[in-house]
Symmetry: C2
Subunit: 386 residues, 2 copies
């Protein structure tokens, strides 16, 4: 596993960043919860490990003895035990794990260290005692991650297919439900947001995907974009689905939103849905390599404005989209600060409108940026009324 | 929700740490993937937010406009929009988000800042430009988290009950299987580690729990403690279960391991299992408030040694146990460096023995440290042979 994974990733960009910074090595200390670490190592581990990539050399991963054999089998780096790396001797000397870590990192780096912005502050400060520390303000690993390889695109498509099937399952429950005393009822029981989410989560887990913080928000709750939603779902009110699971084995996310109404939406929601559809169609039509994310976002702001919808504190309150990969939000950005898109970027296009007292509407697709346009991975209808 | 959650947590300890460090406020910047952040805020959010707790005042959480209403409803902190916090003006001035963050943090802290060891290095360095920055080397929030409230204990017990039921389901699949051509077969199909894990994961998801990196490792794989395991399960070989799901809504983990054999274990595995059982019984009998985690670990090392099992590179290769809470590994530690246990600590007791060529055995319980002893939450048999 390590071989192909190591070859496929564009590690030369990391060397280029190290060289440009006048450093000897890239140094980080993180667990696989950190997307950069997972990207670099392809290693799943709960506890933070030291990773050192010297210019032009194979990367090293400092592991406890008990992880050595597994790291040798699984990691896209050469494992070194803490004993062999000198860590245990340093620890014995200083009795301070952070100090011992800094000494180990300095010894293995062999010169000035390029570190990520998110390196633990304590480690960075101690590392300064052993030589120059340069912060990678350019985000070299983030930039590498933003351009997906074909293997990464396949992993994201797999996650997206499972997500669309889960959304279909959830929307199907609402479609099959009936209104009764102001709430939706399915199979004789009140249909709650929790029930729909559990059904989707269980389904996704069967597909190897972990969904968290899933949104199934109804009515007034839907006017808060990240409100997760709870309690009975109601007829004639907007129900926003936003599902963004992570495939457990690959680590890649998908992200998808739809808004539906069982029954008769208010005229306002109907109009908002039409405007959001138009905004999404416009946004997707503008995306291609070389176009700035800001320009796509601003075009949607303009379209909303022409239709009487404001952007900012009300109306369109978030950015049009974001990159998706080993994090659900990553580079690039379709927002006022978004730079040029690159072929291989995976982005969401998710216009939304939110009005307290009326509700919210969001529709979100995800796909890959290509030279000629946007290749949408989300294959699912955008109908409002069930 | 915010009210009771805010009252229940022992926030005075954070104030004490701020005062002891001669600081004006505690400052952190993290998402709810960071357990300290989740503990302090009780807020689930994918993107990092600035949290500032001034001495003796209510904590502040700086949020994007779109999260304001949700944070007001859900967070154990007073939300302030990025605009009101001055962030957007600073950003407009400097065009650098990290600089703007540091300026915002400094302005809200109003004096020297106490920061966690894991604060992003870039933010810490920039914050130094605005006043004194003190690293909380004592880990104030970690220490708060290590002593659980009754509400936290209830959440952990809920997760543990679901975990034991999931392990029972997985072990039940192995029990019901039959050997055929060297592999286990259930319902006409080869029983693989993946199949067992998926069944457990789907079950756990139905209980609101998310399991990742679950271990179902067989034979030679079981000699690597964190090897996740894949492929067909085999008769007469040790199969190690290690399941540590997180309850999605509360954020609390459970952790449990068992080792089973379908058929006839080798004499070595049978002896190792007996030694591990003895070690666990001894470890659990020694735990009580005031006892050092190191003493419990060392007693188990001694017992293994008396039975001819080494500790270190082979044999007992990891520590005896660890705290469990919003992280699966947290304070306190039952290891050579483990300090005194405190009533309210939740710890695992998980002796294990690992020999390449023979296999591994691990048995792990979890429970709470009390004045008089160890109150074990894991209610499940420890039988080796199915």
């Amino acid at each position: 596993m390590a071989g192909p994974a190591r070859r496929e990733r564009p590690m030369k960009r990391l060397d280029d960043a190290v060289a440009a910074a006048g450093c000897a090595a890239y140094v980080t200390y993180a667990s696989s919860q950190d997307a950069d670490f997972r990207y670099l190592t392809r290693f799943q581990v709960s506890d933070a490990l030291l990773y050192i990539k010297r210019l032009g050399e194979e990367p090293l991963l400092v592991v406890p003895q008990m992880e050595y054999a597994r790291a040798a089998a699984e990691a896209a780096a050469v494992p070194v035990t803490r004993a062999d790396a000198g860590y245990l001797a340093f620890l014995d000397e200083t009795k301070d794990p952070w100090n011992a870590l800094a000494q180990t990192a300095a010894a293995l780096a062999g010169g000035p260290a390029l570190v990520p912005e998110g390196l633990p502050y304590r480690l960075g400060r101690l590392l300064e005692g052993h030589g120059n520390v340069v912060v990678d303000t350019g985000g070299a690993v983030g930039a590498m991650r933003a351009v997906k390889t074909s293997r990464e695109l396949a992993a994201i498509r797999t996650a997206q297919r499972a997500t669309a099937a889960a959304v279909d399952l959830g929307i199907g429950m609402i479609r099959r439900s009936s209104p009764k005393s102001g709430v939706l009822v399915l199979d004789g029981e009140t249909l709650t947001a929790e029930r729909v989410k559990t059904a989707m989560h269980v389904f996704l887990m069967g597909q190897g995907c972990i969904a968290r913080e899933t949104i199934v928000s109804c009515g007034e709750d839907s006017a808060m974009p990240h409100r997760q939603g709870a309690g009975p779902l109601r007829p004639d009110e907007p129900i926003v689905f936003d599902v963004f699971p992570q495939h457990d084995q690959t680590g890649y996310y998908a992200d998808m939103s739809r808004t539906v109404v069982k029954g008769e939406p208010s005229p306002e929601i109907r109009e908002m849905h039409r405007a959001v559809l138009d905004a999404q169609t416009l946004g997707e039509s503008l995306i291609r390599a070389g176009v700035a994310g800001a320009d796509v976002h601003n075009a949607v702001v303009k379209l909303f404005d022409e239709q009487g919808y404001e952007s900012g504190a009300r109306g369109f309150v978030h950015s049009l989209g974001h990159g998706v990969g080993l994090e659900v939000h990553e580079s690039p950005s379709l927002s006022p600060s978004g730079g040029p898109l690159v072929a291989g970027n995976v982005v969401t296009v998710e216009p939304g409108l939110y009005y307290p007292g009326i509700g919210g509407v969001r529709i979100e697709d995800m796909g890959v940026v290509a030279a000629g346009g946007f290749d949408c991975y989300t294959d699912y209808n955008r109908d409002l009324i069930l």
